[in-house]
Amino acid sequence: MSKVVEISPTTRHEGHTKLVLKINDEGIVERGDWLSLTPVRGIEKLAVGKSMHQVPKIASRVCGICPIAHTLAATEAMEASVGCYVPEDAMLLRYILQCANRLHSHALHNILSLPDMYLPGTDTKINPFTPEEPVRSVALRIQKLREVGQTVGEIVGGEAIHPSNPRVGGMYKNITPRAREKIYDLAKEALPLARDHMEFMISVFKNFQNRDTVEVGGMEVPVPDTFGFHNQGYMATAPVYGSSSLDDDPTWFPERWTEVRPWDWYMGETEIDYDEPNYPIGGTTPAGNKAWPQMEACMGVPLYDGQPVEVGPRARMVQYRNFDLKGAMGLQIARQMEYMDCIYGMMEAADALNTSGKVLADEIPQGDGTLGWAANEAPRGSDVHLVKVKDGRVRWYSLLVPTTWNFPTCSRALEGAPWQLAEVIVRAYDPCVSCATHMLVVNEDKRIVAQKLIE
């Protein structure tokens, strides 16, 4: 007999979600629905009619962990729609910004993941806030890496959270030679730290996967060999930066994308008939409550070639580096492996940058309503913005955000795991739910349809 258990809200990720899980008698998930409960803010709707310069600044406010992704994807989608090619030095500045943001975001995510993990070879769970060694040094190292990421982002982007420097047509400002030296010095300072940190984190995640059981709220829970496995595909547009419809060989294909409604994809109304008051902290939803995922989910379900896909660090590693580790810990390990790319990336781009080069295109066309798109490889995966700009104003706008892609994929990856570890799988995706929650839904014929909720 299967039962339904609900974890609401989930914790240690960005935004507001819950897990509705059908489990068997052993507590193994048979079907899992992971859904956003973050209120729809409707960025895509309110963008219509606004100027192409303002919309990327609004889109940035979708998320404060990865505002770089939304600023750059939105700006470059505008540029793709109007057909504006930005100068090389502006692209180099954007590239440094991208690397800096990924560095800080991955380091931040370590803080969220570590409390699930054990110090390798011990039965001690890691509390990142403890003053005791060796965890204290790890926490300080994470802080330093984030500080470097945010400071470099601030120098090239104008601001670490909601960068002010990018604009349609390039950047407002180039940086001074002194600022470039500062970036280089900071990157060099972070380099050995990042290497040590990557190795430490990988050992921690491997250790988790190799354990027979882990403890959750006093329960000993087995770790299956196939923890977090799924058979969905991967989607990535670049190892570091992204792609846009201005590229000679774009690496994302709008015609392969469709989107369905949560109504078509999620579970119907169901009653919760299992609860666990010891689940940390505060227990699961009490039995007797109702859940209705297809009504409650606040996002669309995007498909690529008709299937949910995984995006993010592992998707990039699979596509561009022949990475082959599956499961939740495979995804975590892929994320750690990106540390070095971030640091070398900012150093190489800083080297190539001409600090007296121009950073704004001579001519910025106003657009004729052509569809343009830009994909930015955000810390959590491909962030695709699609837009039609006419006479300098946004006429149509849509965001396909990494966590939106990952929602259905991750839901499938929950199958076969003990329900107590469902959140560990969710966290492996580094979800960013305020990013994921958006408004427009496109049906199989590419026509925009309203959500069932609104109909």
Binding site: E154, I155, G158, K173, T176, A179, E181, K182
Partner: protein
């Protein structure tokens, strides 16, 4: 306390003739920043540099003595120096910022340090804030009217502008001197200056101005620990010639008198705002 808190006050001038040549008074700001740059006390200074229009300043971040020299001399019109405060920590990559400004601009710096609203990373990067004395300021159109209409001098030909001894003075490159009584300039004053209660940049690390010292010299207040550190090092390095303020004419009494006049007059304007309308008043930012 019309002169604010200070540790010491002297009359001083730079010992560098190159600086003095184009300086308004004793070349204090230019010399102090030049020394601080050289010593690494600051790695850049926000100053009022030249712009495309004559006698219209534009804030710039000076990282060399040449750029500091280009910013010498008083421009009696607005230079929004604080507009570069955050940018200095961003694309300019500065860690230790020097900034010069009028009393209101020093207030802005201190407010940004204590209440950084949208001013991330600014509070701990202010290394040396140098304030100048300021009685009032003029919009650029006001300055144009005063120089071109009242003084009957082309702005392009002006070498130096000065307010002193109750008059507004314009000196031309070719040696002519024009002057008008200050009372004709009053209507051109920026209205916002009429609620200002600070004459000698009370909140600066070091503040300086012409009043109190003889021509070619400046009155200098050293106010903070930070300011004292930079000032005493500069004195030690022989950057400045100083005289005790008691030994110069007209001395501190005049400074105190003008400061009191400014504060009294503007406090009255502020008080009147409370009952500006019938049964209602205008906002008072000090409340």
């Amino acid at each position: 306390m019309v002169l604010g808190n200070y540790k010491s006050v002297v009359a001083a001038r730079s010992t560098d003739n190159e600086i003095l040549k184009g300086a308004q008074d004793g070349g204090i700001v230019t010399q102090l920043f030049a020394y601080a740059l050289e010593e690494g006390i600051i790695d850049g200074a926000i100053v009022a540099g030249p712009s495309d229009e004559p006698w219209k300043p534009e804030p710039v971040i000076a990282t060399s003595k040449a750029e500091l020299l280009a910013a010498r001399g008083t421009r009696y019109t607005l230079s929004p120096n604080i507009s570069l405060l955050k940018e200095a920590t961003r694309s300019y990559g500065l860690d230790r910022i020097g900034i010069v400004g009028t009393p209101c601009q020093m207030q802005a710096v201190r407010k940004a340090q204590l209440y950084p609203i949208g001013m991330r990373d600014v509070p701990d990067k202010i290394a040396l804030a140098v304030g100048i004395f300021c009685m009032e300021n003029f919009p650029y159109q006001g300055l144009e009217a005063m120089v071109e209409d009242h003084c009957n001098v082309k702005l392009e030909s002006v070498k130096k502008l000065d307010i002193g001894k109750g008059k507004f003075w314009a000196y031309t490159e070719r040696g002519a001197v024009a002057q008008i009584p200050l009372k004709v300039t009053h209507k051109y004053e920026q209205p916002g200056c009429h609620v200002c209660l600070d004459y000698v940049s009370n909140l600066a690390d070091v503040s300086t101005g012409s009043v109190g010292a003889p021509d070619g010299w400046s009155t200098v207040f050293v106010r903070t620990k930070n300011g004292e550190n930079a000032w005493s090092k500069a004195i030690g390095a022989g950057c400045f010639e100083t005289k005790p303020i008691e030994e110069v004419k007209p001395g501190l009494d005049l400074v105190k008198k003008l400061a009191t006049d400014k504060i009294t007059k503007n406090q009255k304007t502020l008080d009147e705002r409370a009952t500006f309308g019938v049964g209602k008043g205008l906002r008072n930012p000090y409340l």
